[in-house]
């Protein structure tokens, strides 16, 4: 305390010509103060104490950690009074401070002595603390700052010209996510067909279904009035039949699930059943008033759709084959598909309607009124495909005026999703291995498009056909797709090939499956 008083007095002695700091100043002085003062927070009435307050602060501020921990060891005088330094007396007059009265000189003096002290304080650090400080600064600066300087040229490098954009962006833009973190999902999809087969005289008719691939690896193709079987394993071609009259043609083919019988729909409204091994017609089922363009099997029930708009259920085992009639369409039925579990039948017609019929419990026949009628498509609905892994999910594609693929939840009747393909959708197939969908299109590109489900992002586009791709069928191993175009070619695409590991896994699954089938038959 005493040594501050000494400083204080020393200071006032030095500034004898300064303004009177004790007591109110002269009137002219006060007036001048009012004008010049900016620092209003200081109070001049406690001039005797003010410097001490300043002092206190200037001493305490640059405290080193050691000071904080061991205040006793510090050689700096602490003013106990400082901590409880009196506030402005409550009854005090409000003085406007005089800058000259705040004693900058003393403050400066104290600060300079203080910085000298802090150097001493540095010496008071224990060696371990010094080491700690050094390591910290080395960590922070990447080098020992006490032995190094980091300098830079004051004039900075010129900036890149205005509007310049890093052209590496082009390199990076194709990959949205860092390659390292995301598992590679792209597989090689050959852009050219594995094989091209001629299909002379194939009818360029959107409303027919002229292609089907059996589980025995036989591909049935209708070329006008004849049906050919192409053995995909050996490459052999067999003609199954030829219509007697030249103006008659086959409008639909469908293999039974077991692959031994082939159903045909003809232009004169007949539904025929053929034994492929014997090359013999087993049945000829009449009943339709017009040509049959769509067929679908559900165990022993064959459903057929006709140009008249009627759908007939045929029980192929009994003499009275026609066991049901569905009248839900007013125009030609061009799409007909039973769901894999046999619970729903989807039918699409030229009247732009998509009907869902549900099977009667315990029977492969359906109710005669549709469960759902969807009218969202703006054109004929030919392309129909049931999702193999998600029951009750149906994909449907519309014709030229519609161009949409729509997804339906047939349990609820909701349209789950729709995507505009910009082109007539002729056929749709699901690939269960990759959770993908392939669609075949007409004008303008005549392409096949592979979509990722459910994001519906395009995986690949396969082009090659020179006219619309009317029909598609998938091989029994689900790896190959055959497409038939109006350009009279069949193209075979290996677009869903499995890698070796998956193939092996699938093989074991298949053999297991076969075993179970075998055991079932032996029980019978």
């Amino acid at each position: 305390m005493s040594h501050f008083n000494f400083e204080n007095e020393l200071n006032s002695v030095l500034r004898m010509d300064g303004p009177i700091t004790k007591g109110p100043g002269m009137r002219f002085e006060r007036k001048a103060e009012c004008n010049q003062s900016v620092n209003s927070s200081l109070n001049i009435s406690t001039t005797a104490k003010t410097p001490m307050k300043n002092l206190n602060r200037s001493v305490n501020n640059p405290k080193t950690p050691s000071n904080a921990k061991t205040p006793k060891s510090s050689n700096q005088a602490r003013t106990p009074g400082g901590s409880k330094a009196p506030k402005t007396p409550s009854g005090g007059d409000r003085f406007i401070p005089n800058r000259s009265a705040t004693q900058f000189d003393l403050g400066h003096f104290k600060i300079t002595t203080d910085s000298a002290n802090s150097g001493e304080a540095d010496n008071l650090l224990s060696p371990s603390q010094k080491e700690y400080q050094r390591v910290m600064s080395e960590n922070l600066n990447g080098t020992d700052i006490s032995s190094n300087k980091i300098i830079s040229y004051k004039t900075k490098a010129p900036s890149a010209p205005e509007g310049y954009q890093n052209n590496l962006r082009v390199l990076y833009s194709s990959c949205k996510t860092p390659a390292s973190s995301v598992k590679k999902t792209i597989r090689h999809i050959p852009q050219v067909p594995e094989r091209i087969l001629d299909a002379p005289d194939i009818l360029d008719d959107y409303y027919l279904n002229l292609l089907d691939w059996s589980c025995n690896n036989l591909l049935a193709v209708c070329l006008g009035g004849s049906v050919y079987l192409w053995n995909a394993a050996t490459g052999e071609i067999d003609q199954l039949l030829q219509m007697e009259s030249s103006d008659q043609y086959i409008g639909a083919v469908s293999w039974i699930k077991e692959g031994n019988y082939l159903a045909l729909g003809t232009s004169n409204g007949e539904v025929q059943l053929w034994d492929v091994a014997a090359k013999k017609r087993l049945r000829n089922m009449t009943g339709h008033a017009n040509r049959v363009g769509a067929l679908s099997w559900n165990s022993y029930i064959l459903s057929s759709g006709s140009r008249s708009g009627a759908i007939h259920h045929h029980d192929v085992r009994v003499a009275e084959h026609q066991v049901g009639t569905l009248l839900g369409h007013t125009q030609e039925v061009c799409g007909l598909k039973w769901s894999p579990d046999g619970k729903f039948l989807a039918s699409g017609g030229n009247d732009n309607l998509l009907n869902i019929w549900n099977a009667q419990p315990g029977s492969p026949l359906t109710n005669t009124t549709p469960l759902h009628t969807f009218s969202q498509h703006q054109a004929a609905v030919k392309a129909l495909a049931w999702c193999p892994w998600q029951p009750h999910l149906l994909a449907s594609g519309g014709g030229t005026a519609d161009r949409h693929i729509r997804f339906w939840n047939c349990s609820t009747g909701q349209c789950v999703d729709s995507v505009d393909t910009k082109s007539q959708v002729c056929a749709l197939l699901w690939c269960k291995h990759y959770k993908e969908l392939i669609s075949s299109h007409g004008f303008a590109l005549n392409q096949l498009t592979i979509w990722k489900y459910p994001t519906m992002t395009k995986v690949s586009e396969l082009s090659g056909h020179t006219a619309r791709v009317l029909h598609m069928a998938m091989s029994p191993d689900c790896q190959t797709v055959v497409s038939a175009g109006a350009d009279e070619t069949l193209r075979i695409w290996k677009c869903f090939t499995l890698d070796e590991q998956k193939k092996a896994a699938q093989k074991t699954a298949v053999t297991k499956d076969k075993k179970s089938v075998f055991s079932m038959t032996s029980i019978r």
Partner: protein, 200 residues
């Protein structure tokens, strides 16, 4: 150049030249490869058996040349410890990349002044390996999205008199960075280690 291809002796002066030249080409390569300046402002130069791109922008040259000249001086005195190329986002001023070249000088060469034995061909091979790595780093470094600027930091001895045109600076580290160490080369007097740190 003191160290010519005919002799295998490397003097301090020659070593300084080689390292300074490497810095010049290295910085130019970084600026080109990272797209800091438009590629059309660079010209092709044959160096170290590689085709390198060197800026032809006069303003940039006016910046680089005095800096390299100064660094050369410090290399000769062996007062330079590190050269750091800092790439910052212009708008946020955030440091995105930090190319660090650690220089280790053999102080004995400063004293005795004796030339060392190392063929220039070997040195050039080592340098070209480093430059090739800089070129190849585009494949793993993240894209610099916005407009970027660069700055050069030099770590020197504490007792160095900082020239008037130079000022003290901070280390400009990248928070949460990933580091990739590149190859190093040595002239047997100066050893240069290269490293790149980038924002994860």
């Amino acid at each position: 150049m003191a160290a010519t291809a005919t002799s295998n002796a490397i003097t301090l002066k020659g070593s300084t030249e080689i390292v300074a030249e490497f810095f010049l080409y290295g910085i130019n390569s970084i600026l080109y490869q990272r797209g800091i300046y438009p590629p059309e402002s660079f010209t092709r130069v044959q160096k170290y058996g590689l085709t390198l791109l060197v800026t032809s922008d006069d303003k940039l040259k006016d910046y680089l040349n005095p800096v390299i000249a100064q660094i050369k001086e410090w290399l000769y005195n062996m007062t330079v410890k590190k050269l750091v190329v800092v790439i910052k986002d212009v708008d946020t001023n955030e440091v995105l990349e930090r190319w660090q070249f650690d220089v280790e000088g053999d102080k004995e060469a400063l004293k005795d002044g004796k030339p060392r034995q190392k063929s220039e061909k070997d040195i050039n091979n080592e340098i070209s390996a480093v430059i090739r790595q800089i070129t190849a780093s585009v494949t793993f470094l993240p894209l610099l999205e916005g407009a970027c600027a660069f700055d050069l930091l030099v770590y020197t001895d504490k007792d160095l008199d900082v020239p008037a045109k130079w000022g003290e600076d901070g280390p400009q580290f990248i928070a949460n960075s990933e580091e990739v160490r590149l190859r190093s080369f040595t002239t047997s007097i100066h050893k240069v280690d290269a490293m790149v740190a980038f924002k994860k």
